[in-house]
């Protein structure tokens, strides 16, 4: 077998790093606001001592989490992502700590869809989700042209069904 088939090559759209950063900033900001509110309530209604400790621990963890998910995770995640499609298989490879490599036969794909959230729309990105008999998979961000093309390509290849 051809080596190229065994390890996928295609990368996500690079703009996605920015989209992820923005998304993480918003999500973490909301999370920190909630924590701030809890601190305020703790102070105002003098909750028991252990409650304050728990909020403090959660805050420290979420600050560390925020730093990780805003500054490090997006580019690492981008670098770890590869996908490829040919007429027989869809291949996905991703994961920062645990690297996963999935092989999905085209004949087992049941549906394919493109999705877009508000931030993604601003940057003209789409995610492609693929449903099989066993599970569902998602390629997180592709530029509009690539995503639409991939969708119709998968739809075309997946039209073939094997005899059970």
């Amino acid at each position: 077998m051809d080596q190229q088939i065994v390890t996928p090559q295609q990368q996500l759209s690079k703009v996605v790093i920015r989209v992820w950063i923005i998304g993480e900033i918003i999500a973490n900001f909301i999370g920190l606001l909630v924590l701030a509110a809890l601190f305020f309530l703790d102070y105002k209604f003098s909750w028991p001592e252990w409650a304050g400790w728990i909020i403090l621990v959660v805050t420290i963890l979420s600050v560390v989490g925020t730093i990780w998910s805003v500054f490090f995770e997006p580019s690492l995640k981008f670098n770890s992502w590869r996908y490829d499609v040919n007429e027989d298989f869809l291949q996905l490879k991703y994961g920062i700590f645990i690297e996963k490599h999935e092989l999905i036969p085209m004949t087992k794909i049941q549906s394919v869809a493109t999705n877009q959230g508000p931030i993604m729309r601003k940057y003209g990105l789409y995610s492609v989700s693929i449903t099989t008999m066993a599970s569902s998979h998602k390629i997180p961000a592709l530029s509009e042209k690539v995503a639409i093309e991939l969708r119709s390509q998968i739809a075309y290849f997946a039209k073939v069904k094997e005899v059970e």
């Binding site: 092989l103 036969p105 094997e162 059970e164």
Partner: protein, 501 residues
Amino acid sequence: MGQKKRYHPLNILFDFWRLLKNAFFFVLFLFIINYDSSSAWINYGRIIFCLAVVLTVFSIIYKWFTQKYLLDDVSFHMYKGLFNKSERTIPYTKIHNIQRRQTFIHKLFGLASVVFETSMTDTDASIKFGVISQKELNELEARIHQSGSTNHDVVAYEAVPEAEKEEQVICNRTVHFRPTRKDTIKASFTSLSFLVLIPIIVSVSSEIEDIFDIEDKAKTFLMSNINSWWIISLFIVALVIMSVAFGVVRTFLRYGRYEIASDDKTIFISKGILEESTFTISKDKVQAVEVTQSLIKRMLGLAEVKLISAGSVGESEDETNSLYPFLPVQRAYEMLEEVLPDYEVTQKMYLLPGKSLWVRLLRPSWLWIIATIALFFFRPQVFDVKQAWWIISVFLFLIIYIHRILDFINTRYMLNGGFIQFKTGSLQTTMFVSKRKKVIEVEVSRSRLQKQLGLSTINMVNRSKPVHHTMIKDVPELMADAYRTWYIKRTEDIEIEKTSI
């Protein structure tokens, strides 16, 4: 092509019977236990109950009048509804297994119930006939088998006279296995069904002791003690004999008349004496084969072989897809070859390399960590021992690690042409054999630690209900690469449906 048919009229009777059974506890509670209660809740309950019963009675009758079915040469047609009519068409090729059941009552009237399972996931995944005459069911099954999943000859089928056809179907069958009396006795001990009576024995014997203590108060203390001791041991012996007999009878009723048979396309597994059931699966619909051995079975050299089907196979207790659960291992493999001649099972399998044991030992056990933290904080005292928390923690640690080591020792894998074999498990081992064609998805993953040591985790997914994941942790990277290349070659095995091109 025939006429649209209503279901067998006795369906109504069986549905009523089921309604009666379900209503029993409500009746008991609402009308007997709370006979003279005048509480508003009970009153409301009674009203709701009566309404529900009336509605159910109507719906049972309505269902019978409005639901019809029709079988043509290639598919089922199911009709229902009066105002809102619906028709479902299910091709025979989409049927993954057939489960026929006969309760004692069914048998009295020459009837049967049957479920045709498809691989769909919605509520209408199966076609059920609560009551159907045996004759009609035989015709129906013959029709499905004839149409088969491959090229069928409908014309030829129609031309063969009824009697001859029946004969043919029976003649082609070869019986692979029927348990002997020895097998059944072995099975009843292995399944430990005689243990069911032990709690009863214990409670009964303590009762007896109480009774004797009271009655014998007049006698001397010593005498009464000896007397009751003597009688109790007699009772215990009697009860042990009874419980063993009970276990044997129970096993005999469930597994006594087991029969595994097959013709060139289909496998039939039937069992039961008072309540008979038959599981029918087409050979090319077998998704995988699973060989399970519990600790006791491993010691006695027995194994259970299950055929994995994409359709559901009934509730765990009544699972019908198992070849005899107490087969001698060697016989199990032989039978697998007889029943599924295109399956190749080899005893030669690879072991994991030593370094995967290290990974397994180094991997943190979250269960143990969380349990230990919880134990540290709450420090429960067991039997008044203050140090119980760390003793429990150490025990848990040992149990987890023994399991890991046993799993490492038992794990084996093999890629054998178009077949794959995975064996895992610590106390109970499971071997999973599947064809490349039947594996619907694979995944290879590795953590940072595994990457350092050149190991990977391989995972495959098979159709079943729900889908069946099989995973082996910490195989060498070479194997993981071979596994991926092996799977990519599945394009050589599959046949493409002609209509879709």
